[in-house]
Symmetry: C2
Subunit: 167 residues, 2 copies
Amino acid sequence: MILINTGNGKGKTTASVGLAIRAIGQGFVVAFGQFMKRPDQAGEQEVLHTLLGARFHAKGKGFLTREEQFPSHRAVSEELIAWAMEQMQDVDMLVLDEALYALQSKLLQEDELRNLIALSRQRDNHLVLSGRGCPDWLRDEADLVTEMTEIKHPYKAGIPAQKGIEF
Amino acid sequence: MILINTGNGKGKTTASVGLAIRAIGQGFVVAFGQFMKRPDQAGEQEVLHTLLGARFHAKGKGFLTREEQFPSHRAVSEELIAWAMEQMQDVDMLVLDEALYALQSKLLQEDELRNLIALSRQRDNHLVLSGRGCPDWLRDEADLVTEMTEIKHPYKAGIPAQKGIEF
């Protein structure tokens, strides 16, 4: 199946991590890759790296904020895409966290993602994609799309990003 | 903080698992309890049990479907609530999965949950609650409420619950 966690709320990455943990617990072969995110940026990276070894891949360079950064960001994305195509050959589940961010910023091209999806269909395994801004074609292509929406509390706002919660 | 994952879509439990994994990776002391869910029902239970030992608690009896089941379901919930109150003393994060289901079905009483919240505020740690149907008072009380909404695909519907995905 093709599963997507999208929306502007929290829970996209953590739900993807939880799906990976669930699948690991069921004895599935799982691979987990992250676009954009730097290594050792978030708590889940250490646990996933311990559990998955080389089947965990996070070598991103953060958000793409200036045009001149594109080539170096694209280079690490290409590495991740090559790794993902390879993992796809023998995993039961491949998670690509922030794939939708990468797609939006052209670090992951539509035809590359379509290839991954086609391969996943062919192998009848699970491909989990997360990130903001799911394009229509991908929503149509997917089996399950979940939207995470943040219900705001203006009077409790202003709490900064916290270790162990946001990263 | 009090964090809530609610809504009718997927991702409530998996996002809560992901938050626990993130916090574990940051070196936090984490406890994870589940209302309703039977032991060994879902893949994440094995991994959480391995990572958390006695700080993982899942001894539920499934959905409450008949009134005469209430006493035995309430008994295991009381055990879980006592365990949670104890964990609350020294954890950085306590996750209570399906707490909102338990609240709705009176297996967890409002005053019991208010006690847990008050204790969490006092200790300045994190309490993560998940489940369908967040009551207004709890939404008001929480710092962060995320709603998971399933965007359906009628033409791709009819796929049964799958191991490693739904459990």
